[in-house]
Subunit: 341 residues, 2 copies
């Protein structure tokens, strides 16, 4: 049996048998190091021509995106970043300048979040490989997990979805953007090349929960939030949260914030496809009680929105109130599969 036969998800399942079940299975691992702090750790591996390409992404942007993706995983756990390490596999004939630009891009992103590069390893490899591990800390009682969504919770997204995917398309086929104005076009490309991890959401979130007296005082109190980031797409995030929490969800198509200008370029079906399955928008998808949910949306400056709610059952249903598109049940199968195909 080959790796391609089982796919990434199948292989992960096999390998999870080697890991303690209470630590893994979320955006990042959580290790309680003392009573007041947990260590949160996340790892990503990026390979040339699979996860990035010179055609669409300069070394500086590869660096930015890699750093942003890992910081986003920390944000999704409610954690503040402490630092990252970078393991590099590099071909001998790669220009040194490429590596410097990679580091420049990472540093530009990391500096916004006061996160240092604290070490790494450089080895020879036939293919450029970037392995990033980010670690952060979170108060144990403030850890945001996937498995605590409750029936009745509102589902909040912290910004638009589909922008990164649309930006990639514009980079691959610039002529497709003829109907877009320059501002919209640049915003989409920027969403792809310079995504923003939503660490800025966390202090606002804690403040709102505190004001609603919803922050738990002990580990016996239920945690009012569930969430993850939308790095693998909005559909993936909602389905993963529902699976882990044993609940269903209803999403309202008209409430999902979309990037400006897309309607001048793409059909409605294509737009919602990008929004649900495009991935790499690096927004947070949070489930929490309705009142603080709307308060959070009001407080965020980006086009955040309540896009649906948690219901009983196990299905994630996308409803179109204008009946422009048929209602559909969302699943992971349209998401990004690394090994198959």
């Amino acid at each position: 049996m080959k790796v391609a036969d089982v796919g990434e998800q199948g292989l992960l399942k096999i390998l999870q048998a080697f890991c303690p079940p209470d630590i893994i299975g979320d955006d990042a691992a959580v290790l309680k190091t003392n009573a007041n702090q947990s260590l949160v750790v996340t790892t990503d591996v990026l390979v040339d021509n699979i996860h990035f390409s010179d055609i669409t992404t300069s070394a500086t942007d590869v660096g930015w995106r890699a750093a942003a993706a890992n910081l986003s995983d920390l944000a999704a756990m409610g954690a503040s970043p402490l630092g990252i390490t970078i393991g590099l596999g590099l071909p001998a004939n790669l220009p040194v300048n490429w590596v410097e630009n990679l580091y420049r891009g990472m540093t530009e992103c990391l500096q916004r979040y006061n996160t240092p590069i604290v070490g790494g390893d450089i080895v020879r490899s036939p293919v450029i490989t970037i392995a990033i591990t980010a670690f952060g800390e979170v108060e144990p009682l403030h850890t945001i997990r996937r498995d605590t969504a409750k029936v009745g919770d509102a589902i909040v997204v912290t910004g638009v979805h589909g922008a990164s995917r649309a930006g990639l398309e514009l980079l691959l086929h610039p002529q497709l953007g003829d109907n877009l104005n320059t501002t919209d076009k640049q915003a989409l490309i920027c969403a792809h090349q310079r995504p923003q991890p939503r660490l800025d959401v966390l202090p606002i979130l804690w403040e709102i929960l505190e004001s609603y007296s919803l922050l738990p005082r002990s580990s016996h109190s239920p945690f009012p939030i569930s969430g993850m980031d939308s790095s693998d797409g909005l559909a993936d995030a909602v389905v993963q949260i529902c699976r882990a929490s044993g609940v269903g969800a209803i999403l309202h198509r008209q409430q999902i914030p979309l990037p400006n200008g897309l309607q001048n370029w793409l059909e409605a079906g294509q737009i919602i496809e990008y929004a649900l399955y495009g991935g790499e928008d690096f927004q947070l998808v949070l489930c929490l009680p309705t009142e603080p949910a709307y308060e959070l949306v009001r407080r965020l400056d980006q086009p955040a929105a309540v896009v649906g709610k948690i219901i009983e059952g196990s299905q994630v249903i996308l409803r179109d109130h204008n009946q422009e598109l048929p209602d559909q049940v969302l699943n992971l199968s349209q998401g990004f599969q690394h090994f198959t195909s």
Copy 2:
């Protein structure tokens, strides 16, 4: 300018400009997370056919060695392991069994040191790539660094050197072991395939320092130890410590513990070459005051030894008291260079 033109060390120097200087430059990065604990983080990247090969190393052994190397870096900082993450780049046609065996080997090693695998990432790649990040914790006042060796310190090695390199040679050319008995042969091969990170040394070390009242009570007291592991060879470890501490060293060839049986097989010059530059013995090389140094050697069950002492100046001299081999000045140039050659 290409990566090959500057080499691994040159590239590291360029990239270190992007990192905070107080955190990097040792076996692992140290981040003070609170008054009583520092987080210690280390990363290694291993690439198929460069760092391991099916000819000499099964997937299980690759896993063991990768885990051991990272735990050894933690031991070299005085840190206790908390966990590791594993980023894998895998070709689609790799047997799933290979990956399971890799994890089996890692787990076998990690379980001895109560260290969980806490997460990772799996991606497609044309070449098997294993990126491991290990993290541990250390009391800030007990952090073992390279730059605190003092003139007069004894230099202790916690076990034999040259065994891993000799074991590799036996795996590549089994006929070379004709003059070795089975026990010695297996010990050498085992040293290569199943190296032991010397985390066991730490509690003994703290106990001895405590009994000599040498453990500092505040950050203003000088730390009595300097050290690193000998993953890149004994010569590399001593030269790196001396460079970082601004001192020299004298090593006595006859005092360096060597594996059994090597004298039946190799010339004296070849044996010392393996011991100094072979690498991957994963012992600790520690500089500390003479009395606790000898006490440490007595307490360790492996053939540990005081092999020399720290002197003024900057040269690391290997002295042969039998004058069988000429005295020599040790440097890094014979060590492993990843990009050049």
